[in-house]
């Protein structure tokens, strides 16, 4: 059922030994750890199909690949979180059983997950020492305190070690994670997509830190899908696709074109096309303003940030991006627009009509469409059929009377499969059976269909491409462009600055619930946007 693992594995041992690394010196070091021919299956998904990896001390090894390529799974095997169905871990040429994270820790393997694994309600120092507190039974606060403080100052991390982790910004949480691993005397540090939620400035600092750590002898495994980061700091590159390692080479030998081809598994022309995020043509200067938010604020609660002085406008034919560090009020902004959060002050106008006090239903009837962040929880009816999920939200328009028109729903479901490329055998399949990418396609199909029946639709999309593979992302962007192409407008909220820069006409920056800056494209300056995201810009 699955192709021979040897076939796609392009980098056999002989070849690798001829490769050079680290600025031209021949390989003399012994690998710290080798993963050999690892297989892992989750239900119907073959996550790993014979992947192999060598880890050398003192270098940054970048593991590249698109979402779903098996990068994270392979790292989880190394960290003892996943038990492989097949394959082995070799240390000094000898087999080493890594069955639990505790085994991996003995090897010095530590992993910083994409969304971090910190205990939010504990303090920084408690998080750092957790599981390696020292002492037999008593938790000696003073000694732990001192050890953590010393470690933090050694590595130049400025953090209040008594602060609760949940109160720290994302960038600092990541530093705490790294400190935690260093405290455990890590010899191999795995970082899974560490740059995703960081501003360009923070990425710079992180990469410098990693280079310094590698220079001190640590092996760094940097998992990413971003070529730019990979080429900047990687000493060695490994490209994964479909659960296999398709190439492993010294960084000097990798060009962007080559890497893209390997990652996508497509010929050069098709591969670069997939990576493109063409911005649609700018709207006419006299295009009507569809959505206007004026100095709007909300009342904060214990789990909802307070929005203050939110102002921006959205013209027909325009994509406006909302940038911000995670948790800067993006979710609250979407909820405010849809009508889930009451407005405390200010005004929201949709196509010139004041909707500030209108309930959700009226807003939707006037052309507001939400593409929710958590697509499984908020976007679909998991137990119900694809057809039923598609008509959701359109039902009032489609079925103005009490009757549910089965034939109409089926027609729409078929339409979603045929025109919007949702991969499903028929419209009666339960929605949960779809993959993440297909669920997102379904939700966008619904949004696009809604836009067709409204005169001036405004789509509010929250991180619509998070966790999708490159083809699904391409599809999402295409759908958003088609909305603006037909005279609608899109508010794209994303934590991925690259996505915003590639797609948006304007970028509004949110910081602590306030719109602090606005940038006009094209020709954005990443660093000034980053500064605004961090709140340091005027």
């Amino acid at each position: 059922m699955f192709p021979d693992p040897a076939r796609d594995y392009q980098c056999p041992d002989q070849l690798r030994c001829e490769l050079k690394f680290g600025g031209g010196s021949p390989i003399t070091k012994q690998p710290l750890v080798r993963l050999v021919n690892v297989w892992k299956r989750f239900g119907s998904i073959q996550a790993l199909a014979g992947a192999s990896l060598d880890v050398y001390p003192g270098e940054i090894h970048v593991v590249l690949g698109e979402n779903g390529a098996g990068k994270t799974s392979l790292m989880c095997v190394l960290a003892g979180l996943y038990r492989p169905d097949q394959g082995e871990v070799l240390v000094n040429g000898q087999q080493f059983a890594v069955r639990t994270p505790a085994d991996a820790l003995k090897l010095g393997v530590t992993m910083v997950h994409q969304h971090f694994e910190l205990v939010d309600n504990l303090s920084v120092w408690e998080n750092v020492v957790l599981g390696a507190e020292g002492g037999r039974f008593a938790l000696t606060r003073r000694r732990c305190h001192q050890a953590v403080r010393q470690l933090a100052s050694e590595h130049g991390v400025e953090v209040d070690i008594d602060a609760r982790v949940r109160d720290l910004p994302v960038g600092l949480q990541q530093k705490v994670e790294i400190l935690k691993m260093l405290y455990r005397r890590a010899r191999i540090l795995i970082l899974d997509e560490p740059t995703t939620f960081l501003t360009p400035q923070e990425v710079d600092t992180l990469l410098v830190t990693l280079q310094r750590l590698a220079a001190s002898g640590l092996a760094i495994l940097l998992v990413t899908h971003k070529l730019r980061d990979a080429l900047r700091v990687g000493d060695r590159l490994t490209v994964m696709r479909g659960g296999r390692v398709v190439a492993s080479l010294p960084a000097a030998g990798g060009t962007e074109e080559l890497l893209v081809q390997w990652m996508m598994g497509e010929p050069p022309a098709a591969a670069t096309k997939l990576l493109e995020t063409a911005r649609p043509a700018p709207p006419a200067p006299d295009a009507p303003v569809l959505l206007e938010v004026e100095e709007t604020s909300t009342v904060g609660t214990h789990n909802r940030l307070r929005l203050q002085g939110i102002s921006f406008r959205l013209r027909a034919g325009e994509i406006v991006g909302v940038a911000g560090v995670a948790g800067s009020g993006q979710r609250e902004l979407a909820e405010l627009l849809v009508g889930l959060l009451p407005v405390a002050a200010g005004r929201i106008r949709l196509s010139g009509v004041d909707i500030t006090k209108l309930p959700i239903r009226d807003r939707l009837d006037r052309g507001l469409v939400l593409v929710p962040e958590d697509r499984v929880r908020d976007g679909i009816l998991p137990g119900m059929t694809l057809a039923e999920t598609v008509v959701l939200g359109l039902h009032r328009h489609l079925f103005p009377n009490v009757w549910y028109d089965f034939a109409r729903a089926m027609q729409l479901g078929r339409n979603a499969i045929e025109q919007h490329a949702v991969r499903a055998p028929h419209p009666l399949i339960p929605s949960t059976y779809l993959s993440g990418g297909n669920i997102q396609k379904l939700i966008l199909a619904r949004a696009v269909e809604t836009c067709r029946i409204r005169a001036e639709p405004v789509v509010v999309a929250l991180n619509p491409s998070r966790g999708l593979d490159v083809r699904a992302v391409q599809h999402v962007h295409q759908q958003l462009r088609s909305v603006v192409g037909r005279g609608g407008a899109v508010l794209l909220v994303s934590e991925d600055l690259d996505e915003l820069i590639g797609l948006c006409h304007h970028i509004v920056v949110l910081h602590r619930g306030q719109t602090v800056a606005e940038f006009d494209g094209p020709g954005y300056d990443r660093y000034s946007i980053g500064e605004a995201m961090l709140g340091s810009a005027a």
Binding site: F42, A79, G80, L81, Y82, R83, T100, P101, A102, L105, M111, H115, E117, L118, V119, D120, N121, L122, E126, V129, L130, G131, A132, E133, G135, R136, F137, A138, L139, R141, R184, H302
Partner: protein, 312 residues
């Protein structure tokens, strides 16, 4: 009726006395919840503890044996919950409710099987009040805090130990981490499954002993339904005390105080029906709970089974 009425040493003594089983059961539940498991079968565990404790104490004549047996009986229920919730990843609420019903039913059955129907119920001697020398002569606190039965002192000690354990030992830190983020704990080499089982067993034992204290401290005999909602109250006390040992102690004392006071009020004020007075502590607790529940932070992994290989 002046302020002395509300701070009468006898009312305060009653408060400590009545609250004792509640405090102990709440400490057990607190430990279990801190490790990330919601045990809603406290009422059943206490009922089982009450009957087993009573029967063993009655047959052997030694209350200590009764207490040990009650602890073991409730720990077995805890083990069942653990196997379902930790190993099989079953829904904790469903299993907990099933065990509540099992425990309640089993306690009646056991009593009937061993004692049968009797005209006069068998009795055991209850724990006598112990006056601590010197301390009981202290002004202000001496006359109530230091003139209660031995278990009351022990239970206050348990609260202190629980506090020290959770916040000043390495294992305590690991238990807290397990209840907040088991994946984090696991990836740092902390044995999540073993810790959860251990907390469930030890917590279950405390709850069982709390149940056994009901016949041993309060009535001297066993009667059906004698737990009378104390298990549920303990569950609520954990929330009221915000998952902190001394917080739950204060909550339990508050409940005990209103309970003791209502007896007093019932004797003093004859015009109010006694049923209304009996209701007061519960109403009071509901009101306080509504207030305290705002912003209370449960352990974040509560109710969530942990599976290392589950993909988020």
């Amino acid at each position: 009726m002046g302020w002395q009425f509300f701070f009468d040493p006898e009312v305060l003594r009653q408060m400590v006395f009545v609250a004792t089983p509640l405090v102990l059961a709440a400490q057990g539940e607190l430990l279990i919840q801190r490790s990330g498991i919601l045990n809603v079968s406290i009422e059943g565990m206490m009922a089982l503890g009450a009957v087993v404790g009573f029967l063993v104490a009655y047959v052997t004549g030694a209350k200590l044996f009764g207490l040990v047996a009650a602890a073991l009986a409730a720990a077995i229920l805890g083990l069942v919950l653990g196997y379902a919730a930790i190993t099989l990843h079953a829904p904790q609420l469903t299993i907990g409710l099933a065990l509540f019903i099992l425990g309640t039913g089993l306690s009646s059955l056991l009593y009937r099987m061993v004692i049968g129907l009797r005209f006069l119920p068998p009795m055991i001697a209850t724990f006598p009040a112990v006056e601590v020398p010197v301390l009981s002569e202290l002004p202000i606190v001496g006359r109530w805090l230091f003139r209660v039965p031995a278990p009351s002192y022990v239970v206050i000690g348990v609260v202190a130990i629980m506090h020290l354990f959770l916040f000043h030992t390495t294992i305590g830190l690991r238990v807290r981490a397990t209840g907040e983020n088991p994946r984090c704990a696991d990836s740092l080499g902390i044995p999540v499954t073993r810790l959860r089982y251990a907390c469930l067993m030890i917590g279950g034992m405390l709850i069982g002993v709390a149940g056994a204290l009901l016949p041993m401290m309060l009535t001297g005999t066993y009667s059906e339904g004698m737990v009378g909602g104390r298990g549920w109250i303990s569950l609520m006390l954990v929330i009221l005390g915000r998952w902190v040992p001394f917080g739950t102690l204060m909550g339990a004392w508050l409940f005990g105080y209103v309970d003791a006071l209502q007896y007093r009020l019932g004797l003093t004020i004859q015009t109010v029906p006694p049923q209304f007075m009996l209701m007061l502590p519960y109403v009071f607790v509901v009101l306080v709970a509504i207030r305290a529940y705002r912003g209370a932070q449960a352990p974040q992994a509560l109710l969530k089974p942990y599976d290392r290989e589950a993909r988020a």
